[in-house]
Symmetry: C2
Subunit: 254 residues, 2 copies
Protein backbone atom coordinates (compact mmCIF):
# COMPACT_ATOMS: atom_id res chain seq x y z
CA UNK A 1 0.00 0.00 0.00
CA UNK A 2 1.44 3.36 -1.02
CA UNK A 3 0.86 6.83 0.30
CA UNK A 4 -0.59 9.95 -1.28
CA UNK A 5 1.11 13.34 -1.09
CA UNK A 6 -1.10 16.32 -1.97
CA UNK A 7 1.20 19.04 -3.29
CA UNK A 8 0.27 22.65 -3.94
CA UNK A 9 1.98 23.70 -7.14
CA UNK A 10 1.24 27.39 -6.65
CA UNK A 11 -0.81 29.39 -9.13
CA UNK A 12 1.83 30.34 -11.64
CA UNK A 13 4.95 29.16 -13.36
CA UNK A 14 6.76 26.09 -12.06
CA UNK A 15 9.18 28.05 -9.87
CA UNK A 16 6.39 28.95 -7.44
CA UNK A 17 6.29 25.39 -6.11
CA UNK A 18 7.97 24.86 -2.74
CA UNK A 19 11.21 22.94 -2.40
CA UNK A 20 9.29 20.35 -0.37
CA UNK A 21 6.77 19.97 -3.16
CA UNK A 22 9.52 19.64 -5.74
CA UNK A 23 11.23 16.93 -3.67
CA UNK A 24 8.01 14.96 -3.28
CA UNK A 25 7.69 15.05 -7.08
CA UNK A 26 11.16 13.57 -7.22
CA UNK A 27 9.96 10.66 -5.05
CA UNK A 28 6.77 10.06 -7.00
CA UNK A 29 5.88 6.91 -8.89
CA UNK A 30 2.65 8.44 -10.15
CA UNK A 31 1.56 12.08 -10.45
CA UNK A 32 -2.11 13.00 -10.85
CA UNK A 33 -2.02 16.60 -12.07
CA UNK A 34 -4.61 19.35 -12.48
CA UNK A 35 -4.78 21.02 -15.86
CA UNK A 36 -3.96 24.35 -14.22
CA UNK A 37 -0.47 23.33 -13.14
CA UNK A 38 2.55 24.30 -15.23
CA UNK A 39 3.64 21.45 -17.55
CA UNK A 40 7.24 22.47 -16.81
CA UNK A 41 6.79 20.75 -13.42
CA UNK A 42 7.17 17.44 -15.27
CA UNK A 43 10.91 18.06 -15.24
CA UNK A 44 10.89 17.39 -11.49
CA UNK A 45 9.35 13.93 -11.85
CA UNK A 46 10.60 12.49 -15.14
CA UNK A 47 10.58 9.03 -13.51
CA UNK A 48 6.86 9.14 -12.71
CA UNK A 49 3.76 8.17 -14.63
CA UNK A 50 1.90 11.46 -15.20
CA UNK A 51 -1.89 11.33 -15.33
CA UNK A 52 -3.67 14.50 -16.41
CA UNK A 53 -6.95 14.63 -14.50
CA UNK A 54 -7.93 17.73 -16.37
CA UNK A 55 -9.47 19.64 -13.48
CA UNK A 56 -9.97 23.34 -14.19
CA UNK A 57 -11.54 25.02 -11.19
CA UNK A 58 -15.31 24.69 -11.35
CA UNK A 59 -15.18 23.62 -14.97
CA UNK A 60 -13.96 20.14 -14.06
CA UNK A 61 -13.58 17.92 -17.08
CA UNK A 62 -12.88 14.84 -14.97
CA UNK A 63 -15.54 14.01 -12.40
CA UNK A 64 -14.43 14.37 -8.77
CA UNK A 65 -15.43 10.79 -7.94
CA UNK A 66 -13.27 9.57 -10.83
CA UNK A 67 -10.29 11.46 -9.41
CA UNK A 68 -10.95 9.98 -5.96
CA UNK A 69 -11.05 6.48 -7.44
CA UNK A 70 -7.89 7.05 -9.49
CA UNK A 71 -6.03 8.20 -6.36
CA UNK A 72 -6.95 5.06 -4.44
CA UNK A 73 -6.29 2.77 -7.38
CA UNK A 74 -2.81 4.16 -7.97
CA UNK A 75 -1.94 4.25 -4.24
CA UNK A 76 -2.69 0.53 -4.04
CA UNK A 77 -0.11 -0.20 -6.73
CA UNK A 78 2.57 2.49 -6.29
CA UNK A 79 4.69 3.55 -3.32
CA UNK A 80 4.28 7.31 -3.71
CA UNK A 81 1.42 9.02 -5.50
CA UNK A 82 1.63 12.81 -5.79
CA UNK A 83 -1.65 14.63 -6.28
CA UNK A 84 -0.53 17.93 -7.81
CA UNK A 85 -3.00 20.77 -7.40
CA UNK A 86 -2.91 24.35 -8.62
CA UNK A 87 -2.45 26.94 -5.86
CA UNK A 88 -2.79 25.53 -2.35
CA UNK A 89 -4.57 22.22 -1.74
CA UNK A 90 -6.50 23.44 1.34
CA UNK A 91 -8.21 26.35 -0.42
CA UNK A 92 -10.89 25.73 -3.06
CA UNK A 93 -9.15 22.48 -4.01
CA UNK A 94 -11.69 19.79 -3.12
CA UNK A 95 -9.02 18.35 -0.82
CA UNK A 96 -11.64 17.21 1.68
CA UNK A 97 -13.17 14.71 -0.71
CA UNK A 98 -9.83 13.29 -1.77
CA UNK A 99 -8.57 12.96 1.83
CA UNK A 100 -11.80 11.15 2.73
CA UNK A 101 -11.42 8.75 -0.18
CA UNK A 102 -7.87 7.93 0.96
CA UNK A 103 -8.92 7.58 4.59
CA UNK A 104 -11.71 5.19 3.66
CA UNK A 105 -9.17 3.04 1.85
CA UNK A 106 -6.67 3.19 4.74
CA UNK A 107 -4.12 5.16 2.70
CA UNK A 108 -1.74 7.48 4.61
CA UNK A 109 -1.59 11.04 3.35
CA UNK A 110 0.61 14.10 3.57
CA UNK A 111 -0.31 17.63 2.49
CA UNK A 112 2.37 20.03 1.22
CA UNK A 113 1.02 23.60 1.17
CA UNK A 114 1.44 25.97 -1.73
CA UNK A 115 1.16 29.62 -2.69
CA UNK A 116 -2.47 30.54 -3.25
CA UNK A 117 -3.52 32.85 -6.10
CA UNK A 118 -4.51 35.74 -3.81
CA UNK A 119 -0.95 35.96 -2.52
CA UNK A 120 0.63 35.69 -5.96
CA UNK A 121 -1.71 38.40 -7.24
CA UNK A 122 -0.80 40.71 -4.36
CA UNK A 123 2.88 40.05 -5.02
CA UNK A 124 2.63 40.72 -8.76
CA UNK A 125 0.66 43.93 -8.24
CA UNK A 126 2.80 44.93 -5.24
CA UNK A 127 -0.36 45.59 -3.25
CA UNK A 128 -0.06 44.14 0.25
CA UNK A 129 -3.35 42.56 1.35
CA UNK A 130 -2.94 43.97 4.86
CA UNK A 131 -2.34 47.68 5.45
CA UNK A 132 -1.28 49.55 8.51
CA UNK A 133 -4.32 50.81 10.41
CA UNK A 134 -6.90 50.19 7.68
CA UNK A 135 -6.38 46.62 6.47
CA UNK A 136 -6.30 44.12 9.29
CA UNK A 137 -8.45 41.27 7.94
CA UNK A 138 -8.54 39.50 4.61
CA UNK A 139 -11.32 37.31 3.24
CA UNK A 140 -10.80 34.71 0.51
CA UNK A 141 -13.81 33.39 -1.35
CA UNK A 142 -14.97 32.08 -4.68
CA UNK A 143 -17.42 34.37 -6.38
CA UNK A 144 -19.24 31.37 -7.76
CA UNK A 145 -20.68 28.69 -5.50
CA UNK A 146 -21.25 25.12 -6.57
CA UNK A 147 -24.87 25.99 -7.18
CA UNK A 148 -23.68 28.66 -9.64
CA UNK A 149 -25.05 31.41 -7.41
CA UNK A 150 -22.89 34.51 -7.23
CA UNK A 151 -22.19 35.68 -3.70
CA UNK A 152 -20.43 38.76 -2.40
CA UNK A 153 -20.33 40.34 1.01
CA UNK A 154 -18.60 43.09 2.91
CA UNK A 155 -17.04 41.45 5.91
CA UNK A 156 -13.29 42.02 5.82
CA UNK A 157 -11.11 45.07 5.16
CA UNK A 158 -9.80 43.34 2.04
CA UNK A 159 -11.75 40.74 0.09
CA UNK A 160 -10.32 38.53 -2.60
CA UNK A 161 -12.51 36.65 -5.07
CA UNK A 162 -11.21 33.69 -7.05
CA UNK A 163 -12.55 32.53 -10.39
CA UNK A 164 -14.61 35.67 -10.95
CA UNK A 165 -13.32 36.59 -14.38
CA UNK A 166 -16.42 35.72 -16.32
CA UNK A 167 -18.87 37.66 -14.20
CA UNK A 168 -17.30 40.93 -13.19
CA UNK A 169 -20.47 42.91 -13.94
CA UNK A 170 -22.58 40.72 -11.66
CA UNK A 171 -19.88 40.73 -8.98
CA UNK A 172 -19.70 44.51 -8.95
CA UNK A 173 -23.49 44.72 -8.49
CA UNK A 174 -23.39 42.30 -5.55
CA UNK A 175 -20.49 44.16 -3.93
CA UNK A 176 -22.31 47.48 -4.23
CA UNK A 177 -25.45 45.88 -2.79
CA UNK A 178 -23.36 44.55 0.10
CA UNK A 179 -22.40 48.09 1.04
CA UNK A 180 -19.04 48.70 -0.62
CA UNK A 181 -18.92 52.33 -1.87
CA UNK A 182 -18.65 52.85 -5.67
CA UNK A 183 -15.25 54.49 -5.06
CA UNK A 184 -13.78 51.34 -3.45
CA UNK A 185 -10.48 50.42 -5.10
CA UNK A 186 -10.44 47.14 -7.01
CA UNK A 187 -7.33 45.40 -8.31
CA UNK A 188 -7.73 42.88 -11.14
CA UNK A 189 -4.83 40.50 -11.66
CA UNK A 190 -4.84 37.82 -14.33
CA UNK A 191 -2.32 35.00 -14.72
CA UNK A 192 -0.94 35.57 -11.23
CA UNK A 193 2.54 34.18 -10.78
CA UNK A 194 3.30 33.99 -14.50
CA UNK A 195 5.57 36.30 -16.48
CA UNK A 196 3.24 38.65 -18.34
CA UNK A 197 0.62 38.80 -15.61
CA UNK A 198 -2.05 41.41 -16.36
CA UNK A 199 -2.99 44.09 -13.86
CA UNK A 200 -5.77 46.68 -13.84
CA UNK A 201 -6.62 49.30 -11.25
CA UNK A 202 -10.28 50.17 -11.08
CA UNK A 203 -12.96 51.65 -8.92
CA UNK A 204 -15.78 49.33 -7.98
CA UNK A 205 -18.22 51.45 -10.03
CA UNK A 206 -16.11 50.69 -13.14
CA UNK A 207 -15.51 47.00 -12.51
CA UNK A 208 -17.76 45.74 -15.30
CA UNK A 209 -15.89 47.84 -17.86
CA UNK A 210 -12.58 46.54 -16.53
CA UNK A 211 -13.22 43.07 -17.82
CA UNK A 212 -11.78 43.99 -21.21
CA UNK A 213 -8.21 42.77 -21.38
CA UNK A 214 -8.76 40.09 -18.76
CA UNK A 215 -11.20 37.95 -20.75
CA UNK A 216 -10.07 34.36 -21.03
CA UNK A 217 -7.44 34.63 -18.27
CA UNK A 218 -7.78 33.26 -14.71
CA UNK A 219 -8.43 36.44 -12.74
CA UNK A 220 -8.20 37.34 -9.06
CA UNK A 221 -10.36 40.27 -7.92
CA UNK A 222 -9.13 42.15 -4.84
CA UNK A 223 -11.49 44.66 -3.25
CA UNK A 224 -10.95 47.22 -0.51
CA UNK A 225 -7.94 48.25 1.55
CA UNK A 226 -5.52 45.78 -0.04
CA UNK A 227 -6.39 46.96 -3.56
CA UNK A 228 -5.43 50.59 -2.98
CA UNK A 229 -2.35 52.07 -4.59
CA UNK A 230 0.48 52.65 -2.17
CA UNK A 231 1.14 56.13 -3.52
CA UNK A 232 -1.98 57.74 -4.98
CA UNK A 233 -0.10 60.79 -6.27
CA UNK A 234 3.59 60.01 -6.78
CA UNK A 235 4.72 57.59 -9.45
CA UNK A 236 7.21 54.93 -8.63
CA UNK A 237 9.19 52.43 -10.69
CA UNK A 238 8.15 49.70 -8.30
CA UNK A 239 4.40 50.27 -8.47
CA UNK A 240 3.09 50.18 -12.05
CA UNK A 241 0.59 52.93 -12.74
CA UNK A 242 -2.28 51.77 -14.89
CA UNK A 243 -5.03 53.82 -16.44
CA UNK A 244 -8.44 52.75 -15.11
CA UNK A 245 -10.03 50.11 -17.27
CA UNK A 246 -6.85 49.30 -19.09
CA UNK A 247 -4.89 46.12 -18.39
CA UNK A 248 -1.13 46.42 -18.32
CA UNK A 249 1.22 43.51 -18.80
CA UNK A 250 3.65 43.48 -15.92
CA UNK A 251 6.88 41.61 -15.51
CA UNK A 252 6.97 40.21 -11.96
CA UNK A 253 10.76 40.09 -12.20
CA UNK A 254 11.20 43.81 -12.78
CA UNK B 1 21.36 51.53 -7.59
CA UNK B 2 20.31 48.00 -6.71
CA UNK B 3 16.92 46.42 -6.44
CA UNK B 4 15.05 44.87 -3.54
CA UNK B 5 13.37 41.47 -3.72
CA UNK B 6 10.87 40.72 -0.97
CA UNK B 7 10.80 36.95 -0.54
CA UNK B 8 8.29 34.97 1.50
CA UNK B 9 10.18 32.20 3.25
CA UNK B 10 7.04 30.36 4.32
CA UNK B 11 6.20 29.73 7.96
CA UNK B 12 8.18 26.59 8.62
CA UNK B 13 11.36 24.78 7.80
CA UNK B 14 13.51 25.97 4.91
CA UNK B 15 11.99 23.58 2.38
CA UNK B 16 8.71 25.55 2.37
CA UNK B 17 10.33 28.41 0.42
CA UNK B 18 9.48 28.52 -3.28
CA UNK B 19 12.03 27.70 -5.95
CA UNK B 20 11.79 31.32 -7.11
CA UNK B 21 12.56 32.56 -3.62
CA UNK B 22 15.50 30.18 -3.31
CA UNK B 23 16.88 31.39 -6.65
CA UNK B 24 16.60 35.04 -5.61
CA UNK B 25 18.57 34.16 -2.49
CA UNK B 26 21.23 32.75 -4.79
CA UNK B 27 21.42 36.13 -6.56
CA UNK B 28 21.56 38.19 -3.37
CA UNK B 29 24.41 40.40 -2.27
CA UNK B 30 22.66 41.22 0.98
CA UNK B 31 19.86 39.43 2.85
CA UNK B 32 17.84 41.23 5.53
CA UNK B 33 16.13 38.40 7.41
CA UNK B 34 13.36 38.20 9.99
CA UNK B 35 14.08 36.23 13.13
CA UNK B 36 11.22 33.87 12.31
CA UNK B 37 12.84 32.49 9.17
CA UNK B 38 14.72 29.18 9.29
CA UNK B 39 18.50 29.73 9.66
CA UNK B 40 18.95 26.77 7.28
CA UNK B 41 17.97 29.19 4.48
CA UNK B 42 21.48 30.65 4.75
CA UNK B 43 22.69 27.67 2.74
CA UNK B 44 20.96 29.17 -0.32
CA UNK B 45 22.86 32.45 -0.09
CA UNK B 46 26.31 31.67 1.31
CA UNK B 47 27.72 34.47 -0.86
CA UNK B 48 25.55 37.17 0.70
CA UNK B 49 25.94 39.42 3.71
CA UNK B 50 23.20 38.32 6.12
CA UNK B 51 21.68 40.96 8.37
CA UNK B 52 19.34 39.74 11.11
CA UNK B 53 16.71 42.42 11.57
CA UNK B 54 15.22 40.45 14.43
CA UNK B 55 11.57 41.05 13.63
CA UNK B 56 9.22 38.68 15.48
CA UNK B 57 5.63 39.44 14.57
CA UNK B 58 4.27 42.18 16.76
CA UNK B 59 7.18 41.85 19.20
CA UNK B 60 9.57 43.59 16.82
CA UNK B 61 13.00 44.03 18.31
CA UNK B 62 14.21 46.22 15.44
CA UNK B 63 12.10 49.30 14.79
CA UNK B 64 10.26 49.32 11.44
CA UNK B 65 11.77 52.63 10.40
CA UNK B 66 15.23 51.19 11.04
CA UNK B 67 14.44 48.26 8.75
CA UNK B 68 13.16 50.66 6.07
CA UNK B 69 16.37 52.69 6.30
CA UNK B 70 18.56 49.57 6.19
CA UNK B 71 16.77 48.38 3.04
CA UNK B 72 17.41 51.64 1.23
CA UNK B 73 20.97 51.94 2.47
CA UNK B 74 21.91 48.46 1.28
CA UNK B 75 20.08 48.83 -2.04
CA UNK B 76 22.17 51.90 -2.78
CA UNK B 77 25.37 49.89 -2.42
CA UNK B 78 24.45 46.37 -3.57
CA UNK B 79 22.96 45.01 -6.78
CA UNK B 80 20.42 42.65 -5.22
CA UNK B 81 19.02 42.96 -1.71
CA UNK B 82 16.70 40.18 -0.58
CA UNK B 83 14.29 41.04 2.20
CA UNK B 84 13.41 37.64 3.63
CA UNK B 85 10.14 37.52 5.53
CA UNK B 86 8.42 34.71 7.41
CA UNK B 87 5.26 33.40 5.74
CA UNK B 88 4.04 35.55 2.85
CA UNK B 89 5.16 39.18 2.49
CA UNK B 90 1.69 40.52 1.58
CA UNK B 91 -0.03 39.23 4.73
CA UNK B 92 0.73 40.76 8.14
CA UNK B 93 4.28 41.50 6.98
CA UNK B 94 4.49 45.31 7.02
CA UNK B 95 5.30 45.09 3.31
CA UNK B 96 3.48 48.36 2.60
CA UNK B 97 5.91 50.43 4.63
CA UNK B 98 8.97 48.81 3.10
CA UNK B 99 7.66 49.17 -0.46
CA UNK B 100 6.94 52.84 0.20
CA UNK B 101 10.45 53.41 1.55
CA UNK B 102 11.92 51.84 -1.58
CA UNK B 103 9.57 53.79 -3.87
CA UNK B 104 10.51 57.06 -2.20
CA UNK B 105 14.17 56.27 -2.86
CA UNK B 106 13.52 55.23 -6.48
CA UNK B 107 14.46 51.61 -5.86
CA UNK B 108 12.83 48.95 -8.05
CA UNK B 109 11.17 46.09 -6.19
CA UNK B 110 9.94 42.58 -6.81
CA UNK B 111 7.74 40.52 -4.49
CA UNK B 112 8.01 36.72 -4.41
CA UNK B 113 5.01 35.22 -2.61
CA UNK B 114 5.25 32.52 0.03
CA UNK B 115 3.18 29.99 1.93
CA UNK B 116 1.28 31.69 4.72
CA UNK B 117 0.89 30.08 8.15
CA UNK B 118 -2.85 29.43 7.77
CA UNK B 119 -2.18 27.19 4.77
CA UNK B 120 0.71 25.35 6.42
CA UNK B 121 -1.44 24.78 9.51
CA UNK B 122 -4.28 23.40 7.40
CA UNK B 123 -1.82 21.13 5.60
CA UNK B 124 -0.23 19.81 8.80
CA UNK B 125 -3.60 19.15 10.42
CA UNK B 126 -5.06 17.83 7.17
CA UNK B 127 -8.06 20.10 7.64
CA UNK B 128 -8.98 21.84 4.38
CA UNK B 129 -10.00 25.46 5.01
CA UNK B 130 -12.81 25.20 2.48
CA UNK B 131 -15.43 22.45 2.69
CA UNK B 132 -18.03 21.29 0.26
CA UNK B 133 -21.30 23.05 0.90
CA UNK B 134 -20.46 24.48 4.32
CA UNK B 135 -17.08 26.20 3.98
CA UNK B 136 -16.97 28.61 1.08
CA UNK B 137 -15.20 31.63 2.56
CA UNK B 138 -12.06 31.97 4.69
CA UNK B 139 -11.03 34.98 6.76
CA UNK B 140 -7.43 35.62 7.82
CA UNK B 141 -6.76 38.08 10.63
CA UNK B 142 -4.46 38.82 13.52
CA UNK B 143 -6.16 38.48 16.86
CA UNK B 144 -4.11 41.40 18.17
CA UNK B 145 -4.24 44.82 16.54
CA UNK B 146 -1.41 47.32 16.69
CA UNK B 147 -3.23 49.03 19.51
CA UNK B 148 -3.12 45.73 21.43
CA UNK B 149 -6.88 45.42 21.29
CA UNK B 150 -8.16 41.91 20.74
CA UNK B 151 -10.70 41.60 17.94
CA UNK B 152 -12.77 38.67 16.77
CA UNK B 153 -15.81 38.48 14.54
CA UNK B 154 -18.01 35.96 12.82
CA UNK B 155 -17.94 36.82 9.16
CA UNK B 156 -16.62 33.85 7.21
CA UNK B 157 -17.36 30.13 7.30
CA UNK B 158 -13.79 29.54 8.44
CA UNK B 159 -11.74 32.10 10.36
CA UNK B 160 -8.02 31.87 10.98
CA UNK B 161 -6.28 33.94 13.63
CA UNK B 162 -2.54 34.51 13.57
CA UNK B 163 -0.39 35.30 16.61
CA UNK B 164 -3.14 34.42 19.08
CA UNK B 165 -1.21 31.95 21.21
CA UNK B 166 -0.85 34.13 24.28
CA UNK B 167 -4.50 35.08 24.60
CA UNK B 168 -6.64 32.08 23.81
CA UNK B 169 -8.96 32.71 26.77
CA UNK B 170 -9.71 36.26 25.65
CA UNK B 171 -10.07 35.15 22.02
CA UNK B 172 -12.61 32.48 22.95
CA UNK B 173 -14.69 35.06 24.84
CA UNK B 174 -14.70 37.43 21.87
CA UNK B 175 -15.62 34.65 19.46
CA UNK B 176 -18.52 33.56 21.66
CA UNK B 177 -19.65 37.18 21.94
CA UNK B 178 -19.49 37.46 18.14
CA UNK B 179 -22.03 34.67 17.84
CA UNK B 180 -20.02 31.50 17.32
CA UNK B 181 -21.72 28.63 19.21
CA UNK B 182 -19.74 27.04 22.10
CA UNK B 183 -19.73 23.77 20.13
CA UNK B 184 -17.85 25.34 17.17
CA UNK B 185 -14.80 23.24 16.26
CA UNK B 186 -11.42 24.91 16.79
CA UNK B 187 -8.11 23.60 15.50
CA UNK B 188 -4.91 24.81 17.22
CA UNK B 189 -1.70 24.29 15.28
CA UNK B 190 1.70 25.36 16.60
CA UNK B 191 4.96 25.43 14.67
CA UNK B 192 3.15 25.04 11.35
CA UNK B 193 5.38 23.76 8.60
CA UNK B 194 8.00 22.32 10.96
CA UNK B 195 8.57 18.67 11.80
CA UNK B 196 7.01 18.16 15.23
CA UNK B 197 4.16 20.61 14.68
CA UNK B 198 1.63 20.46 17.53
CA UNK B 199 -2.07 19.99 16.88
CA UNK B 200 -5.09 20.14 19.21
CA UNK B 201 -8.77 19.67 18.42
CA UNK B 202 -11.08 21.63 20.67
CA UNK B 203 -14.52 23.05 20.98
CA UNK B 204 -14.73 26.82 21.25
CA UNK B 205 -16.05 26.49 24.81
CA UNK B 206 -12.81 24.70 25.77
CA UNK B 207 -10.37 26.96 23.93
CA UNK B 208 -8.88 28.56 27.03
CA UNK B 209 -8.01 25.16 28.48
CA UNK B 210 -6.45 24.14 25.18
CA UNK B 211 -3.59 26.57 25.59
CA UNK B 212 -1.62 24.03 27.61
CA UNK B 213 0.90 22.36 25.35
CA UNK B 214 0.97 25.29 22.91
CA UNK B 215 2.50 27.86 25.25
CA UNK B 216 5.62 29.43 23.82
CA UNK B 217 5.00 28.21 20.26
CA UNK B 218 3.72 30.34 17.35
CA UNK B 219 0.11 29.17 17.08
CA UNK B 220 -2.53 29.43 14.38
CA UNK B 221 -6.15 29.24 15.55
CA UNK B 222 -8.68 27.98 13.00
CA UNK B 223 -12.37 28.34 13.84
CA UNK B 224 -15.48 27.00 12.13
CA UNK B 225 -16.03 24.81 9.09
CA UNK B 226 -12.36 24.40 8.23
CA UNK B 227 -11.51 23.22 11.75
CA UNK B 228 -13.90 20.28 11.73
CA UNK B 229 -12.61 16.73 11.59
CA UNK B 230 -13.18 15.06 8.27
CA UNK B 231 -14.53 11.91 9.86
CA UNK B 232 -16.24 12.60 13.19
CA UNK B 233 -16.80 8.92 13.95
CA UNK B 234 -14.35 6.74 12.04
CA UNK B 235 -10.65 6.85 12.78
CA UNK B 236 -8.19 7.14 9.97
CA UNK B 237 -4.43 6.83 9.72
CA UNK B 238 -4.30 10.10 7.78
CA UNK B 239 -6.21 12.24 10.25
CA UNK B 240 -4.65 12.18 13.74
CA UNK B 241 -7.24 11.88 16.49
CA UNK B 242 -6.43 14.07 19.47
CA UNK B 243 -8.16 14.17 22.84
CA UNK B 244 -9.70 17.61 23.48
CA UNK B 245 -7.30 19.88 25.30
CA UNK B 246 -4.30 17.72 24.60
CA UNK B 247 -1.67 18.70 22.05
CA UNK B 248 -0.26 15.94 19.91
CA UNK B 249 3.05 16.12 18.10
CA UNK B 250 2.46 15.27 14.48
CA UNK B 251 4.91 14.44 11.78
CA UNK B 252 3.85 16.27 8.61
CA UNK B 253 5.80 13.72 6.57
CA UNK B 254 3.81 10.73 7.80
Amino acid sequence: MGRVVFVGAGPGSADLITLRGMRRLGDADVVLADALTDPALRAYAPQALWVDVGKRGYGASVDQSTIDALLVEHARKAAVVVRLKGGDPSLFGRLEEELLACAAAGIACEVVPGVTAALAAAADAQRPLTRRGVGRSVSLATAMTRERALKALRTADTEVYYMAGKQLAALSQRLLAAGWPPSTPVSLLSDAGWPGALHSDLLLADLAAGAAGHTGHPTVVTVGAGAARLLPTASSPSVPEVAPGRALAIDPRL
